[in-house]
């Protein structure tokens, strides 16, 4: 009743092709952005920032990157954590080699470097598909992590083998290092995520995005209408790795502050992000956010509920949490294999007809 496009006429193609052609959607996104930019600072403290909002934003960015590759271009990758590591180590080397460099530029350069590495590991995709490609990307996971452990240059010969982020600023505000304020960190991540999400949406609804989806849905037909598989696949790998690399730089620089390759960038990290993409919805921008929210926030909600409200022991609730989240994943995949984004879409379609569905 409240959600329908009746009376909203489009008189040109630009309006018709808008991201949110329906006014109610547009208002919804303005409200969410308003809350994120204006209301979040009111509740911002160390817990909300470092445990909830900042990791949620960073995981959303990384899931968005992986979604380009898996959801839009149909190339399965299990090397996500390794690409995050590339972004992290690139940002670490840039921060320590060029102390005066603005962190925004560090993040972008780290992304570009990851894009190069991603393209390199994307080369097998020109020959192999599906599960075989997944195994090939697994090579990236193990090789790169080994490399970052082995070659001391990457962690500046530190005794522990760890990397830790020095204090750097973005637009004069300190965003990395121990003394950076949570609020600055949050705003920095939020701006990057909003801008990249918008750019990603623009790319996927344009020529390049359509060529990715064409390769995903029917690669032979795509080639016969003039999509070059080499360009489409490698550009997907590059753009995906660019976002993942930026996410990795934020993950290490802004959120963790210190990292050690085997733990922070393990294979379970890769799977975690792949699950975010699958649960959120393959081939959907919104899905990346929903998936990251589901897999990052739900365990926190469950933990708070079980420990604080039910008074259960921490160890018990941690095990329960894994079981419940696992069960929910299975249930979701049975009920709606296309993920949360599709559920939202179905809900919107229902709402358009409500209360007279026939």
């Amino acid at each position: 009743m409240f959600y329908r496009e009746t009376g909203q006429f489009k008189t040109n193609y630009a309006d018709d092709q808008a991201i949110f052609p329906i006014a109610q959607d547009r208002w919804g996104i303005y409200i969410i952005l308003g809350l994120a930019f204006l209301a979040a600072p009111l509740i911002m403290d160390d817990y909300w920032g470092n445990a909830i909002l900042i990791p949620f934003l960073i995981y959303s960015l990384i899931a968005l990157g992986l979604n380009i590759l898996v959801g839009y271009c149909g190339q399965i990758s299990l090397g996500t954590a390794a690409f995050m590591a590339v972004g992290s180590y690139a940002s670490f080397k840039l921060m320590t080699s060029f102390p005066g460099l603005d962190f925004t530029i560090v993040v972008i350069l780290s992304g570009l470097m990851t894009a190069l590495v991603g393209m390199m590991f994307g080369l097998p995709s020109l020959r192999i598909k599906g599960f075989y490609l997944a195994v090939a990307t697994l090579a990236a996971q193990f090789f790169l992590i080994w490399l970052f452990n082995k070659v001391e240059w990457f962690y500046n010969y530190s005794a522990t083998g760890q990397i830790s982020a020095p204090e750097r600023t973005a637009f004069m505000f300190p965003v990395t290092g121990p003394s950076a304020s949570v609020l600055y960190k949050y705003y920095f991540c939020l701006c990057i995520v909003v801008i990249t999400a918008l750019a990603t949406k623009n790319v996927v609804r344009g020529r390049i995005g359509r060529s990715w989806m064409a390769i995903r849905d029917m690669d032979i037909a795509a080639e016969l209408i003039g999509v070059r598989p080499v360009y489409a696949k490698l550009s997907a790998f590059a753009f995906s790795s660019f976002l993942i690399g930026m996410g990795g730089a934020l993950y290490f620089g802004v959120w963790l502050g210190a990292a050690e390759p085997t733990e922070a960038f393990g294979i379970d990290q890769s799977f975690q992000i792949l699950f975010m993409v699958i649960i959120g919805g393959l081939g959907s921008i919104l899905g990346a956010f929903l998936g990251a929210g589901f897999l990052w926030l739900l365990p926190i909600v469950l933990k708070n509920f079980m420990v604080d409200m039910l008074g259960l022991s921490t160890a018990f609730s941690e095990h329960m949490q894994v079981i419940i989240v696992g069960a929910l994943i299975i249930i979701f995949l049975i009920v709606e294999p296309h993920g949360l984004a599709r559920l939202w879409q179905i809900l919107k379609e229902k709402m358009r007809l409500w209360p007279f569905p026939h």
Partner: protein, 275 residues
């Protein structure tokens, strides 16, 4: 009738004597084999600008392989292909596409996850040139290009009468409409040569009538040269200007529908011969 006489019979309908000016593509002595299996052996024929050329023959005759050779999906081991007067060697499918050869498939090969509109827009990919950075911003030239191409696509949508399914994901469409969307996607490329692989397979009479009308209209309005494979002989005989008949990878007849229909070799191939 044995193999030799069937090959000889092609000379009766040989059409190589017309001027080279209006020949769009000509295949000379093309042979294609997969390992030991000969899919096409020594076939020569041409397609003239603006005509509707039918390729017919019993199952497994090599018709689809023939189309695959034309749009560069298979590379023949022997023979030459002359496209617009130029002999071309190996050609990749996307090169064929940018040279103006479009194609539909025997089993619908649409992009299932995309809407009708996006499917057809994908066909405009070769006409769109703005780079990645403009696409990220989607302002200025990128937006202008997108809208200009959308206008073209809308023309095609109107032409094929599929306005009502613009936003529908193609996976949800009935078969007949899917075939029509596939035709729309091929037309979006503004091809010079349109290859249709069984455009009417599995359709009812009404859908066949519609599709025939669209094919004639495309040929008429856009001047597109069409090569089509079809099993419905009524349709083939009514639509096409010239017909080439294949059997077991060989050409057994070539000429106007009437001539082909009365060819003994063709009748034998379709009905069988007693030995």
């Amino acid at each position: 009738m044995n193999m030799h006489s069937s090959v000889n019979s092609t000379t009766a309908f040989d059409t190589s004597s017309q001027s080279d000016q209006d020949v769009l593509i000509s295949l000379d002595h093309v042979s294609l084999s997969f390992g030991g299996v000969k899919a096409i052996s020594d076939i020569s024929f041409n397609i003239k600008k603006g005509e509707i050329r039918a390729i017919i023959g019993p199952n497994g005759a090599g018709k689809t392989s023939m189309l695959n050779v034309i749009n560069g999906f298979y590379h023949p081991q022997e023979g030459t292909i002359t496209w617009r007067g130029k002999v071309r060697r190996k050609m990749k499918p996307y090169e064929a596409a940018s040279n103006g050869i479009a194609r539909t498939f025997q089993n619908v090969a649409l992009f299932k996850g995309m809407s009708t509109l996006d499917n057809i827009m994908t066909g405009r990919g070769l006409k769109m040139k703005t780079n990645f950075f403009w696409q990220c911003l989607r302002v200025g030239p990128a937006l202008k290009e997108e809208i200009a191409n959308r206008e073209k696509v809308e023309e095609i949508i109107e032409f094929l009468e599929i306005q009502h399914i613009r936003r529908t994901p193609v996976g949800r469409l009935p078969y007949g409409l899917q075939k029509r969307v596939e035709l729309a996607r091929a037309l979006a490329m503004e091809p010079e040569l349109l290859l249709l692989d069984e455009p009417m397979a599995g359709m009812n009479i009404e859908e066949k009538t519609d599709m025939s009308r669209f094919i004639l209209d495309v040929n008429d309005q856009y001047g597109t040269t069409i090569a089509l494979i079809e099993h419905d002989m009524g349709v083939v005989m009514d639509l096409s200007d010239r017909v080439v008949v294949l059997d077991y990878g060989r050409k057994i007849a070539d000429g106007a529908p009437k001539e082909v229909q009365s060819s003994q070799a063709v009748i034998d191939a379709y009905l069988g011969v007693s030995h």
